[in-house]
């Protein structure tokens, strides 16, 4: 399995690229020009913190006691990668990049207004209380997977529903930006957002295809055979669903708002990638098309909900990641097929309601766990160190206030170096 090992080195680097720089570009372009650096720094900062937390106790807390059937795993068993074989390092590093991007995804819900220090305190606590436990329950043989065998190939629950719920909670606890929704807060550079979406798509092949788990585990012919067949399926499903979702988003906004937009294309790509994340190993090409179309259209409609409900989820973490994650996770219950690598028939393939029930329980488990604990963390931060920069700094631009920098030079500087 030398080929698999080499592939995982590449896949892990690809997923790293999804956070720095892909997600930071995708998000950064959507903010106003006075807060793009802070937006990008939230992704970079999250990656730094997640890395240290992961090698210290994250790996142990998620995967340290595989199959113990408990809600959590002991964070100290493998503390600091104690007793982890070097040959196992790359599998650990692969999961590290997942934890980092999940935390970074949340930042879009609170763009333009949060103190960088508060964000850097939130990330490690959230990973410890929400991310690693969910990962343990879904992938690490914890309590959930002991009771409901949900299919989540690459993180529909662990990554996207998880980040989406956390984003919703943060948007509610942190509150609206000054002037929202009356004042127009247009994306300042959609070319950055398009580049970011394209790089996310590219990196997602590492994310999804790299998430293969070997059934036989013989490290020989059986694993090789599975690797040679399954990776093609997950690769193609990822591509097909993403293309379908982009088209569905564009068509939806063409019908509802009159124009197909570049932001719609970028958003549709991400919605499709999110929805095919849990399902890329569970469905055939038709399933991938259905999941892509439903995710693209539904997310395109869902992003308007925040205006009706009045919460400032600035860059639509809820509308894209929570909704897209739910679409992908729940549609497995309908369109998964035993002829796909996952080997489970959904409702449409004569498998009855069993699969749907398991998928629903995994989604609910994630929503409740993360919903409750994120509220606790967010409220605790609100009443201790506080979340918000002062209103004046927010209006003048968080980049200058939090980082003493500006992204773009509008006028030549006149200051003298002191």
């Amino acid at each position: 399995m030398d080929g698999y090992y080499a592939f995982m080195l590449v896949a892990t680097a690809l997923v790293l690229m999804m956070t720095v720089p892909a997600l930071s570009l995708f998000y950064g372009g959507m903010t106003r020009s006075k807060s793009v650096l802070n937006m990008m720094m939230m992704s970079f900062g999250a990656f730094g913190i997640a890395t240290l937390v992961f090698v210290l106790w994250g790996w142990s807390e998620g995967w340290g006691n595989l199959g113990n059937g408990d809600l959590i795993s002991n964070p100290f068993t493998l503390f600091g990668l104690k007793d982890v074989e070097w040959s196992g390092y790359i599998g650990m590093a692969f999961q590290l990049t997942f934890a980092a991007i999940t935390a970074a995804l949340i930042s879009g819900a609170v763009a333009d207004r949060v103190k960088f220090s508060s964000w850097m305190v939130f990330v490690p606590i959230w990973l410890t209380l929400c991310y690693f436990p969910i990962a343990h329950n879904v992938w690490g043989g914890g309590w959930l997977s002991d009771h409901w065998v949900a299919q989540d190939y690459a993180g529909g629950t662990v990554v996207h529903i998880n980040a989406g719920v956390a984003g919703l909670v943060l948007a509610l606890v942190v509150g609206k930006r000054v002037g929202w929704p009356k004042e127009p807060m247009r994306p300042h550079n959609l070319t950055l957002t398009m580049i970011g979406a394209g790089l996310l798509w590219f990196g997602w092949y590492g994310f999804n295809v790299g998430s293969i788990v070997f059934v036989a585990g013989d490290n020989g012919p059986k694993d090789t055979a599975q690797f040679m067949s399954e990776t093609g399926v997950t690769f193609v499903n990822t591509t097909v669903a993403t293309a379908a979702a982009m088209l569905a988003w564009l068509l939806t906004e063409r019908i509802v708002h009159g124009k197909a937009t570049s932001l719609g294309a970028a958003s549709g790509i991400v919605a499709g990638l999110v929805a095919i994340t849990p399902s890329c190993g569970a469905v055939n090409v038709y399933g991938a098309i259905i999941i892509g179309v439903v995710a693209g259209a539904l997310c395109a409609l869902a992003v308007s909900a925040k205006f009706k409900l009045g919460f400032d989820d600035s860059l639509d973490v809820v509308g894209v990641h929570l909704v897209g994650g739910l679409v992908g996770t729940l549609l497995i219950g309908f369109v998964s097929t035993a002829s796909a690598p996952g080997g489970v028939d959904g409702l449409f393939y004569g498998g009855g309601l069993t699969s749907l029930g398991h998928q629903l329980m995994a989604a609910l488990f994630t929503i409740v766990w993360t919903g409750v604990l994120t509220t606790v963390i967010a409220v605790a931060i609100k009443y201790t160190i506080g979340w918000r920069v002062v209103d004046e700094a927010e209006v003048e631009g968080i980049d200058g206030d939090q980082h003493s920098e500006s992204a773009y030079e509008i006028a030549a500087g006149t200051g003298v170096l002191s």
Binding site: V256, H257, T261, A300, L301, V303, S304
Partner: protein
């Protein structure tokens, strides 16, 4: 002397410049500006959210000329920049007391 100020549609700027040059206007100051008149901006849609964009990009031209040429220049700009649609812009004249050429110190007509 008069100061001619014209605010016109950006895509008409090249035509106006050519016409003024042919007429004999030797210099001008041009800036990219934004504003709005009766047409009131436009609408943009991002992820389904509609934004009213009040300001429309325009080109502002400023020329100082002799009194005798003023009406011709104004007429020329109006004729060239006109599309007949809303948002074509405005041209106005204002009196100028004194003009000095910085290089030589020439004043008024000699400085034009």
């Amino acid at each position: 002397m008069k100061l001619v100020t014209a605010v016109i549609k950006p895509h008409k700027w090249e035509d106006v410049r050519e016409a003024l040059e042919t007429f004999g206007v030797t210099g001008m100051t041009v800036s990219e500006v934004s504003g709005y008149g009766r047409q009131k901006g436009h609408t943009e849609v991002y992820r389904g959210a509609e934004y009213d964009i009040a300001l429309v990009p325009k080109i502002r031209i400023e020329i100082v000329i002799d009194d005798d040429d003023a009406d011709d220049v104004v007429g020329l700009i109006v004729k060239t920049a006109q599309t007949g649609r809303i948002g074509d812009g405005k041209v106005w004249l204002s009196p100028v007391e004194t003009v000095v050429r910085v290089r030589t110190g020439d004043r008024d007509s000699a400085a034009l």
